[in-house]
């Protein structure tokens, strides 16, 4: 075997088969010392299977794994960790109710006279975190800290335990811009220390910012490994999708000012402690974008509009008729639909089948005594599985087994089945792959053309700019600006959020 000094980790000819599908088909992957290697692909491309095979969570059906020149065959994640391969997942898997120091040294606490020495442990924890430029109270409970800090603590633990290879599985999914910058600083430091870092993300900007090389997988096959230098965004997306680039990126912004008369009017609408009273008019067939930082009142706006939070001021009218939005049920009766931000906790009903998840809102509106027959349910589910291209082998599969993008489509289908006229989408494209992303944006545009009114909350400004007729900007739980027409651009939105442009109190 040729000794390979350049690569710290090399997987060759990895194959992994699951019943009925090939998750990895002769995939080669190599990681150099001191590089950040981005691993990209749509959901279901085989990224996580590859990672799991390298960290011992799965055993590859064929192929070899070489770490530091020696072939390894970790049979579980603990073994891989001991060999030097550490992983940090998107949902930080630390223990929120233990202290930072306990989390760092869990299972290997420093002992004195056979007892855990908290003092020693805290000192070591402080020293460890100092390497990452962090000075925090290590005795405090972990969940008192932000997700970003928890992420760093998870990285510190993984590097301290393993120290050769660090795998970051979507570490930035729930971080804001500054936190991402901090995390990237830490990644660059680790790179200098010679670690090989595998970085999985959906954010292409971040890929271009941090990575040295990029490997793309598609349908379990290796598409290629490229140096970042010299790789165009367009080329990368083409590698990932394997088809002509999704129109989102290229499409010129086209505002339809053809929207009809004002249909939904919310006047002085608000709830104390949630969102300051605001006025909002929505026409039939228009998309109103909502922009703002996390915590600016975006989700609160959606919840007040949908009756999740009962508005304590103002009134809502539809076509001039007053509408009491006292509960989601009342809102649904008024033709509203709401895709919440947190798919897992607020959206999907995990153990129910895709079919049941799609029909549940329609069934709830009909009432329990008027059940949809099984054949009606089947035809509704099949119709939307086809129309929205929900990728599943079977409509009876529990929805929790679907990928994020397909879950999101199923929730959209749940509302479309109720034939709504007013749809509120809270971060409809968060955490889903590029392909599904483009499809959902097309869907938003289609629905709007059909005359539906939409409110779309998104932190992806380019996306908002692409489909919004108007954009509402929020800051500090207040609607501070409304951009229309030519004013809608990512720059203008950022200016409004930052408060650098003159405030416009739009009517």
């Amino acid at each position: 075997m040729a000794h390979d000094f350049e690569n710290i980790l090399a997987a060759s000819d990895f194959c992994k088969y699951f019943p009925g599908s090939t998750a990895l088909d002769h995939v080669n992957f190599s990681l150099r010392r001191g590089e950040v290697h981005a691993l990209l692909g749509e959901n279901g491309a085989g990224k996580s299977t590859l990672i799991k095979c390298m960290t011992g969570a799965y055993r590859p059906d064929a192929g070899t794994l070489v770490l530091d020149g020696a072939e390894i065959n970790p049979h579980d994640t603990l073994a891989a960790q001991k060999l030097g391969i550490g992983t940090v997942y998107q949902e930080v898997n630390l223990l929120p109710n233990l202290s930072v120091a306990e989390n760092l040294f869990l299972g290997r606490q420093p002992r004195q006279f056979g007892l855990v020495s908290t003092r020693k442990m805290n000192a070591q924890a402080r020293a460890l975190l100092a390497q990452y430029g962090m000075d925090i109270d290590v005795g405090r409970q972990l969940d008192r800290f932000s997700v970003a800090i928890q992420q760093v603590i998870a990285i510190a633990r993984a590097v301290d335990l393993s120290g050769k290879v660090l795998i970051l599985d979507e570490p930035t999914a729930s971080l804001d811009t500054q936190e991402v910058a901090m995390l990237f600083g830490i990644i660059r430091d680790l790179k200098k220390r010679g670690l090989g870092i595998i970085f999985i993300t959906h954010f292409l900007e971040q890929v271009f910012e941090i990575s040295d090389r990029i490997t793309v997988l598609r349908n379990g096959k290796l598409v290629g490994t490229r140096d970042r230098a010299g790789l165009e965004r367009q080329g990368l997306i083409e590698m990932m999708l394997g088809r002509e680039l999704a129109a989102v990126e290229a499409e010129e912004r086209q505002t339809q000012d053809t929207a009809g008369p004002v249909k939904y009017r919310f006047q002085n609408f608000g709830k104390r402690g949630k969102i300051k009273p605001f006025d909002l008019d929505v026409r039939a067939g228009e998309v109103v974008g909502v922009a703002g930082l996390l915590g600016s009142g975006r989700t609160e706006t959606a919840e007040v509009l949908f009756g999740v939070e009962h508005a304590d001021s103002g009134e809502a009218t539809v076509d001039g008729q007053p509408l009491a939005l006292s509960s989601p049920r009342a809102a649904i009766k008024g033709g509203f639909g709401f895709c919440p931000e947190d798919r897992k906790t607020d959206g999907i009903i995990g153990d129910l089948s895709i079919r049941e998840n799609i029909v549940v809102a329609l069934q709830a509106r009909r009432g329990w005594a008027r059940p949809l027959s099984r054949s009606e349910q089947n035809s509704i589910a099949d119709r939307y599985i086809k129309a929205l291209d929900i990728r599943t082998t079977d409509r009876e599969k529990p929805i929790r087994l679907l990928s994020g993008g397909n879950q999101q489509k199923a929730i959209l289908a749940r509302w479309l089945a109720t034939n709504p006229s007013f749809l509120i989408l809270d971060e409809p494209t968060r955490g889903i792959d590029v392909g599904a992303h483009a499809e959902i944006i097309h869907l938003i545009e289609d629905l709007c053309k059909q005359g539906m009114s939409l409110i779309v909350i998104s932190s992806e400004l380019d996306e908002l700019v692409a489909y919004s007729t108007r954009v509402i900007v929020l800051r500090d739980r207040e609607h501070i600006a409304e951009l229309t027409g030519a004013d809608i651009s990512a720059n203008r939105i950022i200016e409004s959020i930052a408060g650098t442009s003159s405030k416009k109190e739009d009517a």
Partner: protein, 347 residues
């Protein structure tokens, strides 16, 4: 049509096998077990005894299944049996008609269930605490109703519900089978079953989808109270009196056990009433078998516990993964090292 029957049958296979195994064990220990005979137009035999004695737990298990499907639990059902038994007995003793007494007892159970539902759905109290209130207070209420004495009565019409028979089957058996069929049809022929499962799996997402979560929760607890009151009527009619202290004692635990043995998760969601009823019959077969086998009574509870543990272990997901682990082992020997191909490095 066949496929729509095969799926539930497959789902209930562990319960059916367990029940068959225990019945077989009973038969081996007591060869007379399957012997049936007709006396005075009524079937007698150990098998009928199992169905008959199991009636209260079976009835409780029906309501409990739905409560547990919503991720809840109802600890008060044993006490509700005592309350409803006391109400029925005192009504009969006071000379009321059987019809009036039944309505009164059933209404009392419904009221108890609505109270539980109110605490859980409206005040948002954890179900285990909310129903503990009535579990503790219930026997006191029953004693207040009976004024602290064991009330007895001798009303043929009412006693019929405990020891009468229809078409040779004891009345309690007819009642629980009928209740099982009616409620299964109620939840499966309407959308109720799916909505209840949705609430149990994800209450918030269900509310956001427009399901009337509080009303359905109330309804489920009310139904559990109603089932308990039917059980209370049977128990009172059977002993021809009301014993506020002992009627339905610990039956809530047997009912929960029946639901779990029936393959339903305490975490809520998917449920099977038929499974729970099979669970109730499994428990009663164990009880009857132990009695018939002539073990000293002090062994009874221990033997029962051992059998329950065996059934639960067989059902546990952990055992399944152990099974997969063992069945996978031969695969490992296929891990023959392959010559290293440095395709990637050549790039």
């Amino acid at each position: 049509m066949t496929s729509s029957f095969r799926a539930p049958l497959l789902r209930l296979a562990p319960q059916l096998i367990a029940l068959a195994a225990i019945l077989l064990l009973n038969f081996i220990m007591f060869p007379q077990f399957f012997h049936l005979e007709i006396q005075n137009g009524r079937l007698y035999g150990s098998l009928i005894d199992v169905l008959n004695r199991g009636a209260p737990v079976a009835l409780l298990a029906i309501g409990m299944t739905l409560v547990i499907a919503t991720k809840g639990i109802d600890l008060s059902v044993g006490a509700v049996i005592a309350i409803c038994g006391a109400v029925a007995a005192s009504s009969i003793v006071a000379g009321n008609s059987v019809g009036y007494t039944l309505v009164l007892a059933l209404g009392t159970g419904l009221l108890c269930g609505i109270w539980n539902g109110f605490l859980v759905a409206v005040l948002d109290i954890q179900p285990i605490i909310a129903t503990l209130v009535l579990m503790v207070a219930g026997r006191g209420i029953a004693q207040l109703v009976t004024e602290g004495i064991i009330m007895t009565f001798n009303n043929e019409g009412f006693i019929f519900f405990g020891s009468g028979s229809i078409l040779g089957l004891p009345m309690p058996v007819v009642i629980w089978i009928l209740a099982g069929i009616v409620i299964t049809l109620l939840v499966r022929r309407t959308a109720l079953g799916m909505l209840v499962e949705a609430i149990g799996i994800n209450r918030r997402a269900s509310t956001l989808s427009g399901i009337q979560t509080p009303i359905l929760l109330m309804a489920v607890y009310a139904l559990s109270g109603l089932c308990a009151s039917i059980a209370g009527i049977i128990v009172a009619a059977d002993i021809k009196g009301a014993d506020a202290n002992n009627a339905g004692l610990w039956l809530e635990l047997d009912a929960i056990l029946a639901v779990v043995v029936g393959g339903n998760s305490l975490l809520g969601g998917r449920f099977s009433i038929v499974g729970s009823l099979l669970g109730a019959m499994i428990i009663q077969s164990v009880n009857t078998g132990i009695l018939l086998s002539g073990f000293p009574p002090e062994f009874n509870l221990v033997i029962k516990a051992v059998i329950v543990i065996i059934i639960l272990v067989i059902q546990s997901p952990a055992l399944k993964s152990v099974g997969v682990f063992f069945s996978r082992r031969p695969e490992r020997q296929l891990d023959v090292p392959k010559p290293e191909i440095q395709r990637e490095a050549a790039k």
